[in-house]
Structure formats: structure tokens, C-alpha cells
Symmetry: C2
Subunit: 334 residues, 2 copies
Amino acid sequence: MKNKQFLLAARPVGLPTRQNWDYVETEVAELADNQVLIQVEYISLDPAMRGWMNDGKSYIEPVQIGAVMRAGTVGKVLKSTSSEFSEGDYVYGHCGVQKYAVVGIEGLHKIDPSLAPLERYLGVLGMPGMTAYFGLLDTGLPKAGETVVVSGAAGAVGSIVGQIAKIKGCRVVGIAGGADKCAYLVNELGFDAAIDYKSEDVQKALRAACPKGVDVYFDNVGGDILDNVLTQIRMKARIVICGAISQYNNTTAVKGPSNYLSLLVNRARMEGIVVFDNVANYSKAATEMAGWIAEGKLIAKEHVVKGIEHFPETLLMLFNGENMGKLVLKVEAD
Amino acid sequence: MKNKQFLLAARPVGLPTRQNWDYVETEVAELADNQVLIQVEYISLDPAMRGWMNDGKSYIEPVQIGAVMRAGTVGKVLKSTSSEFSEGDYVYGHCGVQKYAVVGIEGLHKIDPSLAPLERYLGVLGMPGMTAYFGLLDTGLPKAGETVVVSGAAGAVGSIVGQIAKIKGCRVVGIAGGADKCAYLVNELGFDAAIDYKSEDVQKALRAACPKGVDVYFDNVGGDILDNVLTQIRMKARIVICGAISQYNNTTAVKGPSNYLSLLVNRARMEGIVVFDNVANYSKAATEMAGWIAEGKLIAKEHVVKGIEHFPETLLMLFNGENMGKLVLKVEAD
């Protein structure tokens, strides 16, 4: 039984390249006590992975050189020496970029493939969905009638943020790259407006799309777009800092928001979130979101690329803005 | 009766110079209905005045070219056509940089010179004190045992912030420029530690002075010091954005905080404040602070410069870090 694995070979400078990865085929290890052997079926590709490749203190340990790249995964239990998991169970876990994983049971939880397609547990019913749900509702605190702006709006988190804000009665404006994504946000997801940052003057477009100003900004991108939104916030606005994908591959310092003094002028707040803080409430959120999906109020979309061998270039799709919806890698090529 | 006035002659680029001001001597106008004539005795000099000299949207209208420069003042009512104020009353108001002011009664309130020296109503019992009190307590939310860091710590606001944090049982670290100021913070105001940003590596000094990290940062300065503190914040830290004096005279863009993603890693918050939002509660705060002063727990210090003619160079003392405590200009030279 041959494993296929991507190991972190070297820490990237700027965008990761093929040289940052070692692809290896290895023997699958024997199980020790209280372990499971998982056949990974889908691998989650997330902007946060770029941060995990860096050395230094963050909200989670960096991936070590020579280690299997960390990733959220869903898969099937093939063998188990744990009383909590049995052969045939489907599980979510951080099993990494590999075909088979021999792991302890910490952080694993069962999922039900009869309730939703497996890959959806990496999207709206997984980390991106939880990030959107708790980040928007608990930190953004949107009220009906307010204006919510989200960047990375066609991505895994942003598309859910915007739809939840619509469910809560807000005016919702998405910022995304390209006419296709913008059309998708307005025509399929029901956003009130979308701004194509690649072809529009974002600040001017924001003024037009948010005539009353911005009450909540959910930021996935940082950089110039954060600065543009800062010029349009209303009094007591809440800015949720979820990520800064525009800055993750910088080879120079992160661009701090030059317009941050707008927080002062507008008595506004900028607050960071990390989804793991809400783990105790994940199932409540997943239940509510599954309900919205069933009612047709929340559309989940996964962008599936097939073949674990394509991991290096598929990861780059995130940074090039090529995915629409949640990007996942299916381990098998067929 | 000759008035002495400083008018805004031109909007400054960078530090204000003598060319930005017109000094004029004019006749004092007659009173219309519901007005008062005030003899201004003390003029408040505040970092915020630099912002008022710029054009563009802010939390308050810019001063117009040719208008008397806006400033907080205390003075004596010489004549009144209002039923609310009588000759001989002492009042606080925004009467501007001039010896006499003929003004409506909006924004004026009586003060009692028998309870505190007049100039103190521009400091701890005025805007800077209110800014410190509400900014620290309502937005910083310090808890006993937490570590509070304040920049501009020897200034009008910072010195009060640090002392209130001590009263609330916090470990307090001040950042100020120069050995004299640092000694004053520790020896006279009871701060636990002080960092001289002019001679010390602020980040290293913060690590030493805040071994558990920073729970509350009250920022008066922005720039590199804000970035340094961002690297040392604890989980769920609160950063109060009160001002950014290091940036007010920039001729290039404001330096945004490059380390703002520390908010994400630490689930921390950065929030702006404007003192005017608390006007309904000023008197409660002033009463509490007057009590602390009477008990010897809160030391108020004013830095008085005499002679309205010295306004242009005295204002610059703020930006050169030359004042210790609240900077005020006494209109009369003697």
C-alpha cells in the first residue's frame, strides 16, 4: 500500500514554487494503539496554508521542513485501533496532503456522507463555513438594514459571509476579481452589488454601491482594498480581519492600512478572528447552515481539482484568484 | 478694546510654520442677542489642532482659511446678553486663539475657579482628562492585574491614562521621549516602568517591561511605536486609537501598522475614540477624577507658556515632544 505525500521541502520566499515541495511515495506505517488509518478523499486548499509554511510565531505552529504539509481533509477509516472510530467511518481531520494518513484521534470527527457530499465538509460545513458564520455574526454584528461589504467574495469564506448577511437582512456588496465572479455573486448568490477590483476603481465603486457607507467589512484580502474600504466606513463600523491574501506572498513588509485613522474619525473597530476559538459551537452552526442550504437560502459551491499530484499548482489558484467557491483537491485523478 | 487673534493664513504642508498664521489686532465686535464677550485667559494646545488645519472630512469641520484658529479655552465673561451667563462667570468653551471672543452660548459651560486652578479645566478636568478616562475605561476595558501600555505617556492624555490604569490595579508601562520624562513617569506618577523611545529599542524594552505581553495599548502616537506594540499584544488585547501624533505632520502618506495581522493571530481589537461622544457623562468623570486628585492618587500637571504672541512656536512644542503634562498658553505675558 503506497502512500503519496507532499512534504514541505523549503520555506518559500514569495509565491510557493515546485521547489518548495517534495513529492514522495512511501510505505504506509503500521497502526499503534488508539490510531486510525484514513484514506484521504478530499484535501482542503486554504489561503491560511501559506502562513503555515512560514517560520515564526502565529496562531498555530509552522509546518516543519520535511513534514507532510498540513491540510484539512475528509476521508474514510480503513483500519482503527481506537474504540471511537470504526472501519468505514467517514471523518474530517487535519490529515495533510497525502493519500493515506496514520493518525491519532485528536481533532478527528465523524461526518455523514448521506447528508451532504463529502467535499462540502471542507467548505460551508467545515472551516470556511464556520469562519464565515462566527466571524460575521459574532464579530461583525450585522443588523438588518446595515451595509455589509466582503472581499474575496467569490471565495470559500466570502461567498458564505455575503449570503449569511443577506439572510440577516443586510445590503450586501462583494468585492471579487473578474466579471464572471461578479456576475455569479449578483445573479446566483443574490448579492446586491459586486465590485470587480481588477477593472474598477474600488473606492469610487464602493461609494456608488454603499451610498450610506459601510457598517461591516469582512476582510479576506488586506492591502489596498482594506484601505479603500476604510475611507467609506460609517460611524461605529466593525471591520472583521479574517485574512490578508494579498499580502501572504509579499517579499517585503506587509502593507499596513494607511487609512487606519478612519477608525478614530468614525469610532470604528477592527478585530481579528480565528475560527478555532468557536469549536464548541461548530455543530450548532453547521446545523443552522445545513437548514439554510435545505431551504435554498444558502448556496454552497466547491471548486474540485482532481489528482493529488496537482497539489502545487492547485494551491496557487488561490493566490491567482482562479477559484470560484471552495477550492478542494480530490486525491484520485478520476 | 483691542483683540489679539491668530488666524489660519494657509494650510500647512508638514510642520506648521510662522507663514501659516496671521497675527492681527482688531476691534472687538458688539454683542448681538444671546451672546457673551469672554476674556480668554488660557488656551489649550492639543495635537488634534494639527488635524483641524487640514482640509477634508474628519470628525470635525476644518478651520477655514482666514478664520480664528480653533482652540479650547477658559476665560471670564465680561458682558452677556444671554440669560444663562453673567458678567464675572468663568467658562470653558472653544473660543479660539484670541484674547477676546464674542460668541454664542452653544458649547460653553461654567467652571469654578475656587475648586481648581483655571488651567486645570483644560487638562485633567477638560478634554484630555475626559479622553483618557473614557478611552481607557470604556474602550480599553482594563482589568486588575492586566498590563496597560500608553504612548505619549508624559503628555496631557497619556499621563492621566497611566495613572487611572494604576488606580484600577494594572501594571502600567509608559512610552515617552527622554530620560527626564521617563523618570517623571516612574518616580512621580507611579508607573511601573517607562521606555524612552529616543534611546531604547522599543520592542526589546517592551518585552522586558511586559513579560506577560500587553493587554491594553492606549495609542497617542501611531507609527513605529504602534507597530512595536502590535508584536507584543496578548490574546484578546484591546488597542485604543486616540491619536497618531507621529503622523500628523507627514508630507507623505500615513504609515499604516504593518503588523496589524497580529490582531488576527491574537483575536485582538483596535478601536478609535473621539471624546465628544461622552459629553453627557463629562461631569460624572470630572467628579470622580477630582476625587482622585484630592486623595493624592492622580497628579495633574500643566505646562504653561505665557503670552499669546508665542502661539506658533508653542504649538510646535507638542510635535517636538517638549512639553511635560498638559500644554497651555496663558494669554497674558505676565
